[in-house]
Symmetry: C2
Subunit: 675 residues, 2 copies
């Protein structure tokens, strides 16, 4: 094919992508046509000339990652996936944004083959990509041998002005620069338009200078329709291995449509008339919906074959590697499957009830360090609170540029980026990531926690300093509503262990979870409970259990979580003296308990026992579910205060006296109600 | 006094501040001595040579604002407030971080005189300052006349590396640059140390270049102990009126202590021995706790007098202004008191039940625009979703540099900064600020919402697109847990109106609220309810009311919020046919209802009616409180999906058929239970 014919064919491919996207949005009568029209050229060049992927096997571990951080441009991604040969038939494109389709409004990981991350909430995709690139760095350090670059791929993303305005991207960009993640290549769709109008209304910063300040290479492409310039820019970006690269591509939102360069083509269909004019502009037959010219199919068939060949080549490399480095190859396979080695649970510590009191954050740190050797792909860190969160893996270097064997991630004071990077690490596969901060700052990373739940990634969040027990740092640092707010997120497992051994069990649950887990841990020391003959692994995994019972049915059930379990036990002793019998239910996890069969739940909270008191140093919201109408709570339905923790607990009614008194009140009221 | 003596005295003052802070932390056995030791010189220079404030009247409207964004350095601020003559006696300093003291671990607005904002969660103070500076711009534009600069003050802050790492600060800095907020002067305490060690571990970006990219003036001070260099830098920063200024001051964390330049002196007391050595270093008598030399008192007395004179001068200016511009002066006074003009509520629209269905977001837009003229200090905007959030004030320009009469704020895609800026605007006083985005993105601004609740600012948050009704945009854009998560925040009033008139009433509540309000509004159209003779202003203000009753007691109470009230009404018609009597309780606000007297609550939800069904397109969490053990919910306890909104509602059981069926189930079960 002559260069000129090649150029024409390329252009035809670009326009096919554009108009598939337009047709999808028209068919759905909903969506975002502007981005695909403007960004199709850059996406086409990237996907056909650079992206190493095998559409027949989206799980190939050494594939390049591509994230559409500007997830509202999903029609662009679906068009690319369809043409590239992923298992996404034309029918799915026709069904864009409909019930039960494979083509939702924003890309969803786990639903559509080839979608690497759920995106749409801006800045998340940008940041998950940084996590993926960090996973690549870690795995390459671990497995690559001279001549055998088992893991050696790029992480690409298409990002928008909205992505760059969001603070999370600033956090991630600064950290990516610090870590020298040179295999990041992000294409910025610089179209100058945001929903309220020109980006100049709110965004006049010098993006290039800003990213240079973060330590990135910045490359400009003045004309987003110039395929060769785009190719050259991507080549240059790939050539720089020490710094992440941002390619700023000047594009036109809604290119070729009558609404070009206006916010009007951002988030709604062009409409029949404008669609026809757009098709006319691109020389398309107006009646041809979802039209893919044969030569375009042929062009993408070649790309598909290139992808297949790339993976075959890699498989050969892997076979050769396996012959020489058998153990490493087996480890590699196990890590990518996400399986822990046999017997890893043997390494979990056990704390004798005679052990000196210790904070659950400290127990968590002990678990992490006990497992470090046995789960060598467990990596993570804290948002600059490692000494407080106890998240440091002792004896291992920091992960990042040029630090072999690194496993500790210094996220900096960047909770939000940490959350999304943990998700990106998990999405990449091969690693078990965690990230820690104070529970009160889970608010800073909430959008990332939500995405973890939506994507069902095995993201582990370590939240310490879990109540007013924080003490002197005061209400800005004392969580009160955060347990409730986290429990409200569907699919997130929240576990607040009561002592060191429950913490061990909680970590076990988290590591085996098919979704994200939030571990809620104390700052203050707690005694190690004597759980008698109970199997704590099983008990904690069931979410709640009877820690202390009595002969027959109790007068009152005291339900508590975390540090308050000890308070419940103290109140029980006091109540026993007065002849009031109790059960103590330790309930580290609502979600796990709610998932148990009815009969187990009935064993733990018998329907006939109406006098129930929940004790938790957080808001009472939601507890009624477990206490019932006749029950009550000892809770914190206000903000905390700055004072020593013990003092606050006392002033807020977290004393054995008050708990016992409340229990007796509830018992009396329940008796009266039943009469 | 000779220049040399002056220098010596200044140094004595600086050291007094340092050692007061050290003594506070030692006395509390808790706190952060490192920052005060390093940053005392810059704080001293700013407070004594530049800050225009009157410690005897912390409410003087034209005072300069100072925010300690690095709130963990609170001991520094308290030492300054004490020495400057604010009503903060030495006893309060001795009582640092104790129960019921005026000196909590992090500065708290409303508690300690002279504290302009609650800070500690990093980045919030930085961003609230941007909001304050924007309020200053707005008020100066509105009130200043030639020769009468009624509002003309600076906004200063002390910021740390942690502040600059947080994404929210990036958002705010970019917007401050775009808006040209030249009266911002921020001092960056560049000590090179974070909690995990050197900032190089996670933060190697070129901060100067980054802020230049945002459009800031950046000034460096190489030696944070050089008082004259600091003064020169602040003078230069003040001189630049078109750009915000960042002064990067190289300091030493824990200066003068044996733990200088190490993370060890960041967040814990120095200890007895190191304290003594530190006092020795500064030539302090080791036994002198909380020591303030007489000449230091004298020096600060002069500063106090300067402050008193400054306000007197301003009062004279104001009197002269009043003589010429009486109406403006009265408006100024009313705005600073926060009072609306008489009869403003007359301007609120009323929607006749015959009106075509409209979304509550549209009704909200109508309220805003109806009030715009009557409440001319109502200003706000959206995080780049104004056309969707309906937050635009028609006919008014954008607020910002050089745009007279501007009231619309284009926050950009920066929800978090928007939240904190709204708080800063409210804290400044004189304006009624609001900010809008999609409800699902309330997660992005949650730390700011929490601070609004903690500070009790009249921040108004407009959250539209409030449920699965969002439709095609899918689960990333459909809130499900957000109502619960917002309700969990103590002190936040959450209102989800059911129609246009409830929306009007909700705005009325928000504008009169002594704290923050979250308005939760639909994307989809809703009919205007026929509320009969009900006073909706009163009914909504009470949080819940019986919208439709029946003769005597009902079989079932259907409780609903927002768009689901209409569904409840449809189910009621269906149930009536089958002889099941119902009440419909519209419950726009849990918080408002919970605050009503018991007898009102009993009127709305009579204890004897156990068959209650709550209908809300969100998670069921917390509803048991209102439905009781025998009640139930029609709710969304999972993530949404991408499809047309009506389809999702149907698939998720939000149909009159299903609601009626569930109501009958509940009725049957309740009857069985009572038997």
């Amino acid at each position: 094919m002559s260069p000129d014919d090649q150029r024409k064919l390329d252009q035809l491919c670009v326009n096919t992508i554009r108009l598939l996207a337009v047709d999808m949005v028209e068919a759905a009568r909903s969506g975002h046509p502007g981005l695909p029209l403007g960004a199709a050229p850059l996406a086409f060049v990237l996907w056909t000339r650079f992206l190493r992927h095998n559409p027949e096997n989206p799980a190939w571990p050494n594939r390049d990652r591509f994230i559409l951080s500007a997830g509202h441009g999903s029609a662009l991604l679906y068009a690319l996936l369809h043409l590239s040969g992923y298992d996404l038939p034309l029918a799915a494109l026709r069904d864009f944004r409909q019930w039960d389709s494979l083509t939702p409004g924003h890309p969803e990981y786990g639903l559509t083959p080839g979608v690497e991350a759920t995106s749409g909430p801006l800045g998340q995709g940008f940041t998950m990509g940084v996590g993926m690139a960090l996973a690549e760095t870690f795995l390459a350090q671990r497995f690559n041998r001279p001549g055998y670059d088992l893991i050696d791929h790029y992480t690409y993303a298409l990002v928008s002005d909205g992505d760059l305005m969001e603070g999370i991207s600033s956090e991630a960009a600064s950290l990516a620069g610090t870590l020298g993640l040179g295999k990041i290549v992000y294409l910025y769709d610089d179209n100058g338009i945001s929903i309220e109008g020109s980006t100049d209304l709110a965004f006049t910063e010098d993006v290039s200078l800003r990213f240079q300040a973060y330590g990135w290479q910045v490359i400009r492409v003045a004309d987003g329709n110039d395929l060769d310039a785009l190719a050259k820019a991507i080549t240059n970006a790939r050539g720089e291995k020490e710094k992440p690269s941002l390619i700023m591509v000047k594009t036109n939102l809604g290119y070729g449509s009558p609404k070009q360069d206006s916010a009007a083509c951002h988030g709604e269909p062009l409409g029949r008339e404008a669609t026809n004019k757009t098709k006319e502009f691109f020389g398309w037959p107006p009646e041809a919906d979802f039209h893919v010219p044969d030569e375009v199919w042929e062009r993408f068939r070649q790309v598909r074959e290139k992808g297949r060949a790339a993976q075959e080549q890699w498989q050969n490399l892997f076979s050769a590697y396996k012959a020489i480095h058998q153990a490493d190859a087996e480890t590699f396979d196990r890590w990518r499957r996400g399986d822990p080695p046999d017997g890893w649970t043997e390494a979990l510590p056990f704390f004798d009830p005679g052990t000196a009191p210790l904070a659950t954050r400290s127990a968590s740190g002990r678990v992490l360090n006990a497992l470090a050797e046995h789960l060598p792909n467990l990596i993570g860190g804290s948002a600059d609170l490692a000494p407080s969160n106890k998240t440091y893996l002792e004896g291992y270097p920091a992960l990042g540029q040029g630090r072999a064997g690194g496993r500790n991630i210094h996220f900096g004071v960047r909770e939000h980026a940490m959350g999304a990077m943990v998700n990106g690490l998990a999405l990449h596969g091969g690693v078990i990531p965690y990230g820690g901060t104070f529970l009160v700052f889970s608010d800073y990373m909430r959008p990332a926690i939500r995405l973890a739940a939506l994507m069902k990634t095995r993201s582990i969040f370590v939240f310490t300093h879990d109540s007013i027990g924080v003490g002197e740092d005061g209400p800005t640092h004392q969580p009160v509503e955060h347990l409730a707010a986290l429990r409200a997120i569907p699919g997130l497992t929240v576990i607040r262990p009561a002592d060191a051994n429950e913490t061990v069990a909680a970590w076990r649950v988290a590591l085996q979870n098919q979704g994200p887990t939030a571990l809620i841990l104390t700052r203050q020391n707690l005694p190690v409970l004597d759980a008698g003959g109970l199997n704590l692994f099983e008990s904690v995994a069931r979410g709640a259990y009877v820690l202390a019972d009595c002969k027959g049915q109790p007068d009152v059930i005291l339900i508590a979580t975390g540090s308050e379990v000890h308070l419940a036990l103290a109140a029980r002793r006091r109540l026993a003296v007065e002849g009031v019998t109790t059960w103590i239910v330790s309930m580290p996890s609502w979600e796990l308990f709610a998932a148990q069969p009815v009969d187990y739940r009935e064993q733990v909270l018998p329907a006939r026992v109406k006098a129930r008191l929940a004790i938790e140093a957080g808001v009472s919201m939601g507890w009624r579910r477990w206490t019932g109408d006749l029950g009550g709570t000892v809770s914190v339905d206000r903000f905390g205060v700055s004072a020593p923790g013990e003092r606050i607990f006392k002033e807020f009614g977290f004393t054995p006296e008050n708990v016992a008194a409340r229990a007796k009140e509830i018992l009396a009221a329940a008796k009266a109600a039943v009469k």
